[in-house]
């Protein structure tokens, strides 16, 4: 039976052990809160957060990482393991006492700092100083508390998602790693890889093969990454995403105890306690490299560097168990990961990016005064687009369309037509090879790219304000479809 008293007392003891980290954290967070609160400005509906304040909050993430590795020192330091594992705590209690220590060293000061920052910003953010004709200072207040409060809450949630992500990845790494060096660099490596992984998969795999992108990014774009990648504070979806990110991190942190319970001091000193965990890190990192650098045969230099990096990392991690024969096995694993990646990409190609992206925008997205449509259909006979003289262009057109008098429906029908044609695109190996490695396109295949952007407002002086790009597509088609689409596009442009 877990005892909270023991957990709390264990955490009290650990606070003594990590006094310096606590002091540094409190100083950084206190200054971050004060600077953010005083330097954040607000005018009407606009809030300009303090860049220095935000920077200091980010600086405070360094002691957070340091704290997460230090409180789990018993996982990678034999004398500390002797002391801590002999203490009257169960392994689960020990795990939760460490988490409570992290809360008390970092999270509680952070919430206090954030509350202080909100209070100060509420007091000063709407105050604007200026000088009158006689050089006398005067100030005015345009304070919109609800705007500032919503903004600050978004900011808190956004930062909290990043904080919990760091804690989750670092703590799980501590539970799976038994050596000090690995407990520092592998979490950093994994956090970086995970943060780039979902956007990279979305951009290069899903969108790359889905051929069609409607406005906005899909939900997974910022799923369990540093939330800094998604800062659209106005979007309800992003708020939900941050909450989901926080929940995933909390789930991962909770599950960490089960890994922790499987360890005794025997595994302390072993760089990697659970080999599968290391392979997950390798798989994520290498897949990321493959996804980012697969597009050209020249990227083999990068592939070689990835192989070299993976071998060096494995040599470091294997310590004295290294033998030259293992390089062959590791190379085989590298090739294996690449084959898995190719299969993954081929399935993405066959299924049009796993079919996760909706093919057409919602009717509400056509709201605006006009739209700009760019369409290009080309038969590309070489791998390089700039060898234009080799290419046969069917259509290369950009035109504006008023969205009044039934044009909205016509544009919607045009977009539906494009999507239908895209769904019929040939899924042949030649195209896969072209998309993966930039080989020549198979003969008789055409590339079509379409971009539709709404215009929000026209001004009297002839200028206008662009809205969102609501539809973007790039896909391959055969000659008859190319001719058909060129005809439809020309009709839309002429207004028929």
């Amino acid at each position: 039976m877990m005892s909270f008293t023991r957990i709390y007392k264990g955490s009290n003891a650990e606070l003594i052990a990590h006094k310096k980290t606590r002091i540094i954290t409190i100083i950084l967070l206190a200054f971050a809160g004060v600077i953010y609160g005083l330097d954040t400005s607000s005018r009407g509906d606009n809030v300009n957060p303090s860049a220095l304040g935000v920077f200091m909050y980010f600086a405070a993430l360094v002691p957070l990482f340091s704290c997460c590795t230090a409180v789990f020192k018993d996982m990678h330091d034999i004398p500390t393991a002797d002391v801590q594992m002999s203490m009257p705590l169960s392994s689960a209690e020990r795990y939760f006492s460490r988490l409570l220590t992290i809360c008390r060293i970092w999270l509680i000061p952070f919430f206090i700092s954030a509350a202080g920052a909100f209070l100060l910003s509420a007091m000063f953010a709407g105050t604007h100083y200026s000088y009158d004709y006689y050089d006398r200072m005067e100030y005015s207040r345009t304070y919109h508390p609800e705007v500032l409060m919503v903004y600050d809450l978004h900011m808190l949630l956004w930062f909290l998602a990043a904080v919990l992500f760091i804690i989750a990845v670092t703590v799980v790494c501590q539970c799976c790693i038994g050596a000090k060096a690995e407990s520092k660099y592998l979490p950093v490596m994994l956090m970086t890889a995970l943060s780039i992984f979902t956007p990279a998969i979305y951009t290069f795999v899903i969108y790359g093969f889905a051929d069609i992108q409607t406005s906005g990014e899909p939900f997974i774009y910022s799923l369990w990454t540093f939330s800094a990648l998604s800062v659209d504070f106005d979007s309800v979806r992003d708020t939900i995403l941050m909450i989901v990110n926080c929940l995933i991190s909390l789930g991962v942190i909770y599950c960490g105890q089960f890994i922790c319970q499987r360890r005794d001091a025997r595994t302390v000193g072993k760089p990697i306690v659970f080999p599968l965990f290391f392979e997950v890190i390798m798989f994520v990192t290498l897949t990321l490299f493959f996804v980012l650098f697969h597009t050209d045969w020249e990227s083999f230099v990068v592939m070689f560097l990835a192989w070299l990096g993976s071998i060096i990392l494995r040599i470091v991690v294997s310590r004295k168990n290294f033998s030259f024969a293992k390089i062959g096995i590791w190379t085989g694993m590298f090739v294996g990961y690449y084959v898995v990646f190719l299969l993954f990409m081929y399935i993405a190609f066959l299924t049009g990016g796993f079919g996760v992206i909706s093919k057409t925008p919602a009717p509400s997205e056509y709201e605006g005064v006009g739209a700009t449509i760019d369409i290009e259909i080309v038969e590309c006979r070489t791998r390089y687009w700039y060898d234009g003289y080799e290419n046969e262009k069917f259509i290369d057109s950009g035109f504006e369309l008023s969205l009044f008098g039934g044009n909205k429906e016509r544009l919607q029908s045009f977009v539906d037509n494009i999507s239908r044609t895209a769904s019929r695109q040939p899924r042949i190996n030649g195209l896969f090879s072209h998309q993966m490695f930039g080989n020549d396109m198979p003969s008789g295949t055409y590339n079509c790219s379409v971009n539709v952007r709404v215009t929000d407002e026209y001004y009297d002086d002839g200028s206008y304000r662009y809205g969102d790009t609501i539809y973007r597509a790039e896909f391959y088609l055969d000659r008859s479809d190319a001719e058909e689409l060129a005809k439809i596009a020309a009709e839309l442009e002429r207004g028929y």
Binding site: P79, A81, P88, S90, R319
Partner: protein
Amino acid sequence: MIEISNASMIFDNDSAVRFGKKAPEGYEHRDKALNDVSLTIPDGCIYGFLGSNGAGKSTLMRMICGVYKTDMGSIKIDGQEVYDNPEAKKNIFFVNDETIEYTSYTLSALKNYYSNYYDTFDSDTYNRLLGVLKLPETSPLSTFSKGMKRQAVAIIGLACHTKYLMLDEAFDGLDPAMRAVIKDMILGEIRSRSATLIISSHNIREIGELCDRAMLIHSGKLVFADEISKIKSRFRKLQLASLSHTITPEEITAADIGIMQYKAEGRVVQVIVKDSEGLDEKVSTLGAELYEQIPLTLEEIFIYEMNLKGYGQ
């Protein structure tokens, strides 16, 4: 009472390399750091763990305090399985053979640290022992000598008032004068509370002087474990001489006397024997004109036992 029943533990191969041991036959890829050890440590005794380097003393201590999990068998403190069990672990305090983990603390911080973990921590005992040893309370332990760190940890260990105190290489790094002071201090505290002390040391004479009971472990296997007086009574050095001939090892074995070591100088034979029961009667069949029995010290027993196991040869 601490009951260890058929306890075994396996290190991974790479750990075995670190411990400088060779994997036994059948365990080429795995190495048993402890092999089927059964032992009972009664309450209120002072128990000495003896063994060569890497024999498994520290491993056994770590298993007793729940740092290592037993792969086979069980270790119980007062009837409760110790691993991952705070109720059993609150009765035991373990000091390992290193003090490096304490260097960032001051003695007063160390007191606060342990008092959070052990409800039985007694500040009066701490203050009293600190008064005896006169250690600086507010200086970091990194400024202490090795011996001073040992003293500091001993104060903390005794102040925790646990039923069992385990000290690995207890008096390592202490000068002879301080060794005596610390020994008296520990023994006084332990006896006044009828607590149990388990110590390991390479100084066998010290173990012999301090302990009521001892055990010897070699290559993870228990060689013997008993009250020290009984252990000593089982081993004898015999000096035999016959005027007619030199008594040979075969004759001694034929008289059902277990030989650990045999040495002859002329007609005088010196034999180390184990299992001294009925020794006089057995020796009488050898026809020795001169016969003398000398008891062995614990240190001699250790050396002869280890020689018998091929240690150091």
